[in-house]
């Protein structure tokens, strides 16, 4: 092709365009016996051969910028191209508002791409303007309410620019739409953690009541049970007044393995804190009984786990013989049971 006169300006290949005639394309150096060799289309090869040429010459021009757009269209995961585009945005003093429109379009089309979200963050930082971000992320979440990149961007914007107002309301809207949206429950925790915190007893009360209300609506929703557990960890499940009664009451209408597991957690907390509000022996017996119930009947997929919890409880709070995992005499203790893991292990 080096002999071919490059006069075509309407060809779709950069190779054939007269405005690019001065640039010698640089083929990819895969070596003589390539591996994982991709059968690139003619267009792909053309664009990236030109990209390599630009990169090699460190060219900072409008045509280079236009070429990055083509390259991104062919492979939006090429982080080298995105980096180069950022260099050009600054070197050519490009209109960043226009760039935001472009980024918006790419994200709408490929919402699970790491590079484009990072690029958006960079441009928002350069503009120092987060004013469109929450609405934009809400729009992406309306298409996929659990998009991890979207939530990451949202949390970054909120923390960086201190935009906490209205977020709890937004979370509640999302939970109205889908009470099982675990990302929304996480966002609830995020907002409260960074604003009021959970130490205030009126906040904690409100959250516990809100969560119990959601549990009554959908008793088999694991997210709500995990949230209830999560917010009470610090204070202790058994220390929250009336909780055992409220949860026990739910058993008739809202029984689920999650309720049972929650009771195990509560009993375990009572044992751990040696709470005088509870009969320690009763807590111990009930905890073991429920572990057995879960392992053998209600949550058998986690049999190994519940049996372990049971053994641990017996080992810590039981009165008597040491507990082992098998009915055989225990093997002599040795580190040979350990999976070989340390870098220094043979």
């Amino acid at each position: 092709t080096s002999n071919k006169t490059r006069y075509l300006s309407h060809s779709s290949l950069f190779l054939d365009r007269k405005e690019w005639a001065d640039l010698e394309p640089v083929p990819q150096d895969d070596g003589p016996n390539p591996v994982v060799k991709i059968a690139y289309s003619e267009k792909f090869t053309d664009v990236f051969d030109m990209f390599r040429a630009l990169l090699q010459n460190d060219e900072k021009s409008e045509r280079a910028f236009a070429l990055t757009t083509e390259a991104i269209d062919l492979n939006a995961a090429n982080y080298t191209v995105w980096h180069y585009r950022r260099v050009l945005l600054q070197a050519l003093d490009k209109d960043l508002r226009e760039e935001m429109k472009y980024i918006t379009a790419i994200i709408e089309d490929q919402p699970k791409n790491y590079q484009v979200w990072h690029h958006r963050r960079m441009v928002v930082e350069w503009l120092n303007d987060p004013s469109e971000e929450l609405q934009f992320v809400a729009e992406i979440l309306s298409q996929d309410a659990k998009n991890y990149h979207a939530w990451q961007h949202r949390q970054w914007v909120m923390q960086e620019y201190k935009l906490w107002d209205g977020e709890l309301e937004y979370v509640e809207e999302l939970l109205e739409e889908d009470v099982r949206n675990n990302s929304a429950w996480n966002q609830r925790h995020f907002v409260i953690n960074h604003t009021s915190g959970y130490s205030d007893s009126s906040i904690l009360d409100r959250e516990v009541q809100y969560t119990l209300k959601q549990i009554k609506k959908a008793p088999h929703n694991e997210s709500a049970w995990n949230y209830l557990n999560g917010i009470l960890q610090d204070g202790g499940l058994s220390s929250f007044p009336g909780l055992l009664e409220q949860v026990t009451e739910l058993q008739d209408t809202c029984s689920s393995p999650y309720l049972t597991a929650f009771l195990v957690d509560l009993y375990e907390d009572a044992l751990e804190t040696n709470s005088s509000s509870y009969d320690q022996q009763e807590m111990f017996n009930k905890a073991l009984e429920l572990c057995k119930f879960l392992a053998e009947e209600k949550d058998t997929i986690r049999r190994e786990y519940w049996n372990y919890v049971s053994r641990s409880l017996q080992n810590t709070y039981g009165s008597g013989d040491p507990v082992s995992a098998s009915s055989d005499p225990p093997p002599p203790p040795s580190s040979s049971q350990l999976p070989d893991m340390e870098p220094s292990d043979p």
Binding site: Q28, D29, D30, G31, P34, V35, V36, K37, I38, A39, Y40, S41, N75, A77, N78, Y79, T80, H83, R86, Q90, Y114, H118, Y148, Q152, Q155, N181, N182, S183, N186, H189, F190, N221, E222, S223, N226, Y227, Q233, T300, I301, R302, E304, Y305, Y308, R311, S312, Q314, N315, P322, S324, A325, S326, S336, Q337, L338, P339, D340, M341, E342, P343, D345
Partner: protein, 391 residues
């Protein structure tokens, strides 16, 4: 309780009385052969459908080579040498590996390239890695708060710490300051659910939880996690119906979490053992091994070769790698001294064991560590750790 509508025909009891016996003649579909051909071909040629992975070619090398080693299929010496030469072309002059020749260095293809070279395990493979420059690269992406960006001018998340810890420990380039603050940053990713998010504040996710936990194991700081909360979270991620694992609470099962999630159980077992826990099982990881194997073998295999997320999805090399890795974790408990195998189905389903931290075979880990520990730790020569590059 009365059925509201008549039971579906396919659920009727009468089926069992019409069940054929198999005439004593088995039709053997040796799926391993199918997978082998899919992998062997992919190691050389990929269709244009793979243009989207043009910035991840070292990953393709690793996913395929690791799958082959799990299937105990050898790689011919000529192919191995070609992989070495290709990865050498992916290495950046400033250190680390990029997604293809001429691309900037990035921690993910760096992780993949080092793993692939360690699987090959030849002198030629080890020699590809420029350790001095690799150390410079790691320092160039290190952040003041202990985290790492994935590439210069790139994003931070917990994958980067794992990629950095993995390559640094295998190639013996860990200096006293390289991981300053890293363990604390990773710990701040553990959230109210018990698992870890990609960055502090985010939802607990199997992929990120694996990366954070494995990185802490390498750094010797796994005991600083709330291990009980993490154990509760990960065991809850096994789906009671499907048998496979979900990546996040209330999301769908996916074959790749067979490794990211189930692979946490060996790590936690060891961590708890080191804490002095005497109530650990002596025969099994704390998940339903048979159910996971059933999910992978019955739902995640493409009859033409390769494995996948769930029925209805297309095969790809990423899912092939991680479904097989998860199957291996489920099959093998313990280590070379104390080993308990649970192979669902035919003996031919048995895969080689995999190392739960690096996800390459344990012998290859040991061999690489032995090789690189004979070399001195390089001295950092590049620029000192910088705040995130503005471009």
């Amino acid at each position: 309780m009365e059925e509201a509508s008549p039971p579906l025909r396919c659920f009727r009891e009468s089926h069992s009385s019409e069940l054929f016996s198999d005439d004593g003649v088995q039709t053997v579909t040796s799926k391993e052969q199918q997978h082998y051909h899919y992998l062997k071909k992919g190691l050389r040629h990929l269709s244009d459908a793979y243009e989207c992975l043009d910035a991840s070619r070292p990953w393709l090398c690793y996913w395929i080579l690791h799958s082959l080693e799990l299937l105990e299929e050898p790689v011919p010496a000529a192919v191995a040498s070609d992989v070495c030469q290709f990865l050498a072309r992916c290495q950046s002059p400033t250190g680390g590996f990029g997604g293809g020749p001429g691309q900037h260095a990035h921690l993910a293809p760096t992780y993949a390239a080092v793993n692939a070279l360690c699987i090959l395990g030849t002198e030629e493979a080890y020699k590809v890695i420029n350790r001095e420059k690799l150390l410079d690269f790691l320092y160039s992406v290190k952040q003041p708060d202990g985290s790492f960006v994935m590439h210069v001018g790139g994003e931070v998340d917990v994958r980067s710490a794992y990629c950095a810890a993995s390559v640094a420990s295998l190639t013996n380039i860990i200096t006293p300051t390289l991981f300053d603050g890293t363990h604390n940053w990773i710990l701040s990713c553990q959230n109210w659910e018990g698992g870890l998010g990609g960055v502090p504040g985010l939802e607990a996710h199997g992929g990120y939880t694996f990366c954070g936990t494995a990185a802490l194991v390498i750094l010797g700081k796994e005991h600083m996690l709330d291990l009980k909360a993490l154990l509760r979270w990960v065991t809850s991620k096994q789906m009671r119906f499907e048998g496979g694992f979900q990546g996040r609470c209330n999301k769908l099962v996916d074959g790749c979490y067979s490794f990211w999630q189930a692979g946490l159980l060996p790590l936690l077992h060891r961590a708890l053992f080191k804490e002095g826990d005497s109530t650990l099982s002596e025969s099994s990881w704390m998940f339903e091994r048979e159910a996971l194997q059933e999910y992978i073998l019955l739902c995640c295999q493409n009859p033409g070769g390769g494995l996948l997320d769930k029925p209805g999805k297309s095969r790809d090399f990423y899912h092939t790698c991680y479904c097989l890795s998860g199957l291996s974790v489920a099959q093998h408990f313990g280590n070379k001294d104390l080993h308990n195998e649970l192979i669902l189905g035919r003996d031919e389903n048995r895969l080689a064991p995999t190392h739960p931290v690096y996800n390459i075979c344990p012998e290859k880990v040991a061999q690489a560590i032995e090789h690189f520990h004979q070399l001195p730790v390089p001295v950092q020569t590049g620029p000192t750790p910088s705040a995130m590059d503005q471009s």
